[in-house]
Symmetry: C2
Subunit: 408 residues, 2 copies
Amino acid sequence: MPVNIPTLSAEHLLPVPGVSLGIAEAGIKKSNRKDLLVMTLSKDTHVAGVFTQNRFCAAPVVVAKEHLAKSSVHALMVNTGNANAGTGEIGLQHTGATCMALADLLGCEPCQVLPFSTGVIMEPLPVDRLIKGLPAALVDLKPDNWFAAAQTIMTTDIVPKGVSRQIELNGATITITGIAKGSGMIRPNMATMLGFIATDAKINQAMLQRMARNVADQSFNCITVDGDTSTNDAFVLMATGCADHAEICDQESVAFKHLQATVTAVAATLAQMIVRDGEGATKFITVQVDDGQHVNECKQVAYAVAHSPLIKTAFFASDPNLGRILAAIGYAGIDDLDVNRIQLYLGDVLVAENGGRAPAYREEDGQQVMNQSEIVVRIVLNRGAASATVWTCDFSYDYVKINADYRS
Amino acid sequence: MPVNIPTLSAEHLLPVPGVSLGIAEAGIKKSNRKDLLVMTLSKDTHVAGVFTQNRFCAAPVVVAKEHLAKSSVHALMVNTGNANAGTGEIGLQHTGATCMALADLLGCEPCQVLPFSTGVIMEPLPVDRLIKGLPAALVDLKPDNWFAAAQTIMTTDIVPKGVSRQIELNGATITITGIAKGSGMIRPNMATMLGFIATDAKINQAMLQRMARNVADQSFNCITVDGDTSTNDAFVLMATGCADHAEICDQESVAFKHLQATVTAVAATLAQMIVRDGEGATKFITVQVDDGQHVNECKQVAYAVAHSPLIKTAFFASDPNLGRILAAIGYAGIDDLDVNRIQLYLGDVLVAENGGRAPAYREEDGQQVMNQSEIVVRIVLNRGAASATVWTCDFSYDYVKINADYRS
């Protein structure tokens, strides 16, 4: 069961002026299941994207990057049930055909459509069914359809994921609404499985692209469920410009910083929802590494801890078998690491220092923290001023069950 | 249950002239459980060791490396039930005290004792109980005690692991016998959890050290169960020199190569036994990567596949969800990888080529290979002449169970 995700309902997700969403059951995943989403954007919308670094990246990722580079964007099209990844040349043709079909219906150019797919890898996209589903999605287009959109993009997700915020910006009230999906094959490298955030703020393209990358680095790029970087990760940030305020053109401006902070908060909430709904998750773990020489080494240590099956199963069991954390720190790959300078905290409890167990540490204190559903592991390297945080979940029987049964 | 390990019994493990082994129940692990092993070596034995690269390496690893560097070796002492790792300065003192106690009993110097520990991390070594157990182990010393020794060093291992070979070398018949333990926290980096191989061959120290490293790289350094590099890994190669043949002093000699090939075969058998008895294992997986630019990139790809929880759970389920393998190849970290040149084989079945599913691939062919308990995954990168092989196991409910319950 998801770890502490408040139940989402339609009224939590505010419409964003300039954005409409339409849903259909195209029969890609299975019948009677929403599996196709179309989002249309008003004319002056700027769109920025960040995509997976996986070399086996999916056909829709290749095409979306290409379209984004050469054109303004009028629509996004997302299907679940099939990732169209590991499908070679024919996969690219399939994606091209779907973009062309949607463009025809909308009266725009194919390159104004960004395609996204998620689901099983190395199976041909059922392109005819997808195309047949498009008209129904267009009939359904409306601004207050974000909740249904969040449901539509789910795969092994148990709950839909979305969040809205409103802020005052240059004298106007603007809205930011985001949705995301993802539960397994989650260790984003530059983006997450699928995350879409829209705002009616007015911001130029260069500033929006910079913001998308900054936001991804502080949110989706900080999570891991299983260490598997997906072939289809994409994070898209859309700004329709429908709000009535002066355009943001300067990354040093108060408005840029305010908007970026809010979008980051939205993205971090979505990213954490993905972990909270991580496959089989029963606990939400924050791994914070402080006082490293640089951010990269802090991330290295944080990911070593966050990926260790031994540590993740100990969290599942609420077993303070914390020597496993020391072992992971030790093999994280920092060659000149002096283990005698490290402090390990579980919650507020100092567990280890001077290369071994802290004299005041009592197992019952560690046990008390382990029993909680939200746990912070803090590792202080004492060799610099850099920090990094990674969010992850535990590793349970259900992770094995979900992934052993995925296609059945 | 272990995957295809022939049942070992005492007569399978041949004595090695010059080596005696003694066992005791010291009450370190739990009562009525063999947990202490002493091996004594004849006077002119050469010993070479390879140890974990984990920065949080255990006190006995620190001490064993130190002793090996400065002295000849008269005895090895191994306890299970406690790793004496993450124990700081007091851990080193404890190990020092045990070496001193054994040296007193044997009439040698403490630095002639190599200590080894395996078990739970960050708990103080019960040093008094260990020392009290030593006399019983010495009373038990005998050359034909290898089977009991293999049983003694087990932790979460289900079966004891050992193998013997005999070869003709420079006109003499020499024996090689090895034992190993390990089942979880297995992703050796320069060595394995614990592996001991002895021979009565006559070989000088420099050649033996070189051989130990070569052998480790072709055996223990090619396995992974869970990607967790232990704090206590050690592989020790001992040559008593009791056999009656000319000493091996040249790595280009036929005798060196013959001995190294045989020791490598023994070590690879032991290493594979560790994987076959990997925590919760139901399948034995060989990941072979061919035609890479260099061995390192082949290993990178092989380990990405061998560590992916998504792939390992699919093996457990016998589900040919092979797109997950493409995803892992894609995120293995080779930046200029051309996925269109890659071939993926499952057993003899060509699964993927040209960036997608091979036209002739039929799911029932993949299913047939997946149903087997021994599976070879072969990835051909087609960008060079280098190869690497990694042996691993699947990821089952029992892995979670074993590690959630480890200390209870």
